[in-house]
Amino acid sequence: MICQRCNKNISSVHLTKIVNGQKSELYLCEDCARESGHLSFTENNPFDFTNFLKGILNPEEEIYGDYFQEDRCSLCGMSYQDFTKNALLGCSNCYIEFENRLEPILRRIHGNIVHNGKVPKRTGGTLRIRKEIEEYKEEMQRAVDNEEFERAAELRDKIKELENMLAVRGGDKDVE
């Protein structure tokens, strides 16, 4: 659809206004929408969160140029350049394909790059059990330090139980 204001460009902004039940529709190109003041574009604000993040995501552009930016995820087809524009990845596999470039970004956002939280029971497989064992061991140590020996014994039994579960599931292989 052609822009209803300049009658030249393809319209990319569809405006529906409802005032007191009266509906009016307008198709504008981006320039006309901006000029006519129908929309305030957040992209003008460099401190808008997404824009701010985009700035962080894109520092390499000058060094690597277009060649680097053109890399695409083999699964969903998202290019790294798309990512720097939207601050959104396309699929789980993007995290694998762009791993090296994401690492410094994640460090900047989170300060950490290794997950330390909940692990899914099923897809996480034995990892969750290992984590529980670790937690119980810590707790047991604290119980011993506080001379709560009954509690410590309880925890020791729990740890044993979990270790048996690990053995049944084939032990040392980590499920990834």
Binding site: A87, L88, C91, S92, H110, G111, G117, K118, R122
Partner: protein
Amino acid sequence: MPSGVVIKMLNNLSNRSLSQWISGDGPEGDIVLSSRIRLARNLEKYPFPNRASKEERKAVIAEVREAISGIEDYRLHYIEMADLPELERELLVEKHLVSPVHATDGPEKGVFIDDNEKISIMVNEEDHIRLQVLTAGLQLKEAWGIASELDDILEDKLDIAFSKRWGFLTACPTNLGTGLRASVMVHLPALNLTNNIGKMLTAVSQLGLAVRGLYGEGSESIGNLYQISNQVTLGHSEKDIMENLVTVTQQVINQERKAREALQQDVKVIDNVKRSYGILKYAYQLSSDEAIRLLSNVKLGIDMGIIDYVEDKVLRELMILIRPAHIQKMHGKELVTIERDIKRAELVQALLKS
């Protein structure tokens, strides 16, 4: 307007009463209005919503519906966003059950909501699954308990995108890891009156937390309502993230209480509370912003014991009921601003009387 008419209008609003998190009283309810837990999850085999095809988005909805149908402890109802008129979608935003982005036009988006409006599960928002639990007062641990249980049930049936190194994989890297955003909504009028709010905001943001005004832009907040939430999602356990938020919130509560004590005998404050009550009771028209400001003053008056003739519950409900979509829904049609402002004043008066 007779209060009977208003009650009928309120019933019109929805077949159920107001959400539990709004009407219910919770711990530290004089300062913390609500606590929220949000988890972001994605299905392994589909691209994230921003890159998924129509068919893939449909398939995600079907899989999540199937998984949720097995949940018996909570009665979750599915709503397809495209099936709702705009006003109804706005209503869900005002109740904090869906995000503003989720309420805009767009196909293959949905939400599951339980009877108490405590749980909402958005499908195909920025991530495939955005699970949210809302509770009254400071009850993050309770909210986490429910959210984590629901998460376990979903994970039992769905293959969730997870990496050992980076945790739960999310469309935006700012949610990576735990996918957890924990937040509390706090009412801080006394810190504002004693000019301490700026210092508090700075201190909190230095502790890895984000603060923003609930209404209004940037650090300006209308009605002294602020949302405090964790910034970082990767590298800390859920327990640590929540403990940090609770500890800092507890500090904020203490500071607000101290400021309230200091204002106990302040003539200006007492006068302002009573004047605000007077305006709410007798104004012919009220804008959203003015109503929120005045309600904030009266809430402070109740919490400080300056006035005792308004129920705290009524006030908390009004903070949501006065919002534009709620006013329009009560009247069953779209209204222009001036009409809304008059209806808003009528509603406030009727509820303050009852």
